[in-house]
Every structure is written in C-alpha cells, then in structure tokens.
C-alpha cells in the first residue's frame, strides 16, 4: 500500500524521543500534522509536534482522513483508539525506562503535579509496553517499526536508514541525521565508567 494512503504514527511513552522523531521526519521532508497548541518549553526546546485532536480519536476520528500521507504523534496508550478503517505505519520509540522516568519526574515537578514512586511506575510501564506490543502484533492494519532512542543518539546512521526504508525512502537520510542534536539528550543514565 502506498505511503500516501497510509497514516504515519510516531508513538511511544512520553519522553522516549517521539518529539525528536517528529523533528527528524519533518526535516527529512515529510508533512507533519501539528497544531502548535503546546508550545516549546524547557522539556522540549524544539517543540512538541502535538496534534490536540489525536487525544480525542476515540470520540471523533474524523481528522484521520486528513492525516493520510502525513505524520502524527500519538502517545502509546492512544494507539488502541485508532480505527481499523485506516492503515498505519507506526514508528514506536523505545528508550531506557529509567531515563524515561527521570525525565517524566522532572516534567511533573515543573508542572507541580505528583509522581508515583519510581519502582511502581517502572513496573506499570513495563506491563503496559508488553501488552501493547502483543496487541500490535495482532493488528493487520498497523505496520510497526521499533526505534531505540539510545541507539539513535549514539549511532544514528543505521537507525535512520531503517526508518527511511520503512517509509519507502521518502524522508532524506541526510536531513534526518542533521536533525539529531545530541546536546538535547538529557536525563542520560550514567555509563558504568562515569560512576
């Protein structure tokens, strides 16, 4: 099926690199669907690339027709709401869970909202991701490519080539690599040699 008739979804847990992936695909030449309602801030200096209506897909999926051939960001839990009447290519971001949680906790603190204990949240996210992965395997209208954020930052080229291939070589590899700014890789887990 042609990429023009499918919807490209960038998904994953919050703080797993979904905004970076949106930036890469945008810079690589794909059209991203964003509404700029959530503006860039300390947590995402280059913007969130969010589309507010994606949060309400279960109640109103009418925006999906307009999204064909474009890229939309949706957090992991919202994938369950995507109707099987459309076809999707899902780029699913994976990142070390401790780094994800470290980053989420800082974001929650800035928003003055409570965070659940780290060990509980880590276990819950692991269960959530496991169940979602099993579910995605059974969805014939969804093609999924998992991208590891940590590998993408440390050695971008092979990952970017995989992404380009998954998207029928539409996005520019060179431009996608240029979009990666390792200085934005914060909340990094210390390497053994750093400890």
């Amino acid at each position: 099926m042609s990429l023009d008739s499918q919807i490209v979804i960038v998904s994953g847990l919050p703080r797993s690199g979904t905004s970076l992936m949106m930036q890469m695909l945008h810079q690589g030449g794909l059209t991203t669907m964003t509404d700029e309602i959530r503006m860039a801030d300390t947590d995402n200096p280059r913007g969130y690339f969010e589309f507010e209506q994606a949060k309400k897909t279960k109640q109103d999926p009418s925006w999906l027709a307009e999204a064909r051939g474009k890229v939309v960001k949706m957090v992991s839990a919202l994938l369950y709401d995507l109707p099987a009447t459309e076809s999707y290519r899902v780029i699913f971001m994976r990142r070390d869970l401790d780094e994800v949680l470290e980053s989420q906790e800082k974001m929650l603190a800035r928003l003055s909202r409570p965070a659940a204990p780290r060990h509980q949240m880590k276990q819950s996210f692991a269960i959530h991701l496991d169940r979602l992965s099993q579910w995605l395997l059974t969805q014939s209208h969804m093609n999924v490519l998992e991208v590891n954020f940590n590998q993408l930052i440390s050695n971008p080229e092979p990952e970017v080539h995989r992404i380009a291939e998954f998207l029928d070589h539409r996005p520019s590899v060179e431009m996608m690599i240029n979009a990666i700014d390792p200085s934005l890789y914060r909340n990094r887990k210390p390497a053994v040699s750093d400890q």
Partner: protein, 61 residues
Amino acid sequence: MTKVGIDSNLFERARQAATKAGFSSVEELITTAIEKELKRLGEADAEKQVADQLRGLGYIE
C-alpha cells in the same frame, strides 16, 4: 499449604472440567485460574497507573 473453602458443587464442576481439559488435578486448574485472575488484576492496576501518569503529563485527557 493453605486450605481454602469452596462450594462443593463448584468443586465438582471444576474437577470434571480439569479432567476434560487435561489438568493433572483440580488443584492445578484452580491454581491456574487464580494466577490468571491475579495477572489480570495486576494489569488493570498498571494500566490505570500509566493512564494517570500520562494524564498528569498532559498527553491524554
């Protein structure tokens, strides 16, 4: 080993079902059923906690 009371009719149904389904004993069937339910309840709790966190971060409504 802890003993648990169970209705005798339900126990008999479980015993027959265990034999039919190839369980080695009715205890094995009951243990499997309890483990399955505990897993389901744990998953429901985990998904609720994930939803609360995503809501707090502003990613879902």
